[in-house]
Symmetry: C2
Subunit: 198 residues, 2 copies
Amino acid sequence: MYEGVVQDLIDELGRLPGVGPKSAQRIAFHLLQAEEPDVRRLADVLIEVKARVKFCSICFNVSEDDLCRICRDPRRDQTVLCVVEEYKDVVAIERTREFRGRYHVLGGAISPIDGIGPEQLRVRELMVRLSDGTVTELILATDPNLEGEATATYLTRMLKDLDLTVTRLASGLPVGGDLEYADEVTLGRALAGRRSAQ
Amino acid sequence: MYEGVVQDLIDELGRLPGVGPKSAQRIAFHLLQAEEPDVRRLADVLIEVKARVKFCSICFNVSEDDLCRICRDPRRDQTVLCVVEEYKDVVAIERTREFRGRYHVLGGAISPIDGIGPEQLRVRELMVRLSDGTVTELILATDPNLEGEATATYLTRMLKDLDLTVTRLASGLPVGGDLEYADEVTLGRALAGRRSAQ
């Protein structure tokens, strides 16, 4: 329907996650009208990201060098390891400024429906990392959903013979939320995990 | 928060229409994990679109040549001109296969709130096109919203002294819709524009 290259652009944009045919069309028309240098900047950064971004050889965090910023930082505590699903979870935890240990990025969560088992994740690399005994506490910070829970349960079982404190992130009411709007599971967890009031 | 070039990518993606910070992040992470040739294809088509897509020198439709497909086609009726806001409106009308005339793309609609007046649109070019008398019917096919109506009203006034049949797209109930779900204005228009039943 569209002139050749415009249709190509719409097709390529439509392959991005969360971009449906209507959004792809809208973005394409925006780019048609945009200034050439603005569009070139987007094209350049796409190329650059693929050329420069690698994964940290220790923790599999996104990195422009062989080691990521966190693994390079000698002030980070090597004895505490936080296991997350994705790079974005590292960023979310870093944003809290509450964690001074290091990370291990699994690259996803166990999801039989998507054909993702422990072999598809960086579980073997985790076990190798733990084998020298430097890490004494391991925090399982997978997502609080079905896949994340399955992954945490699997890892807990894998780790039970190691001399290691294994913890999970606390479940409960989100801060700033309304009790009445919390779903039953969350509220149930918050009740089960109740702590003595100071 | 992110490694330099990843943050650059998120920033660039966030400038696209309808892509908020969360979507930009999601798309960026998708691209980080995507295969290099797939990302390169997107980058290439962005560059190509800006290099190859021009605007038709007659109707201002998007075109890879000096004249667009429609203006190049000798079978298209030169006496009927359909005035639309944007290239995507040309595509929408072409999809109906009901129109065999030509187009004039204004490049937007009058919107004082966005600082867009008739001078920012291709109104002068329209008047020049009409001056040789080839066009005998002009269809105002602007959007049925405030800006589109304002534009159509303005053009109707501009055109009233020319020897020209000026028509508007019919307003009424969308085909396949439910009468009870139509808004009052649409239903009112449908009533006012009622036609004799065959």
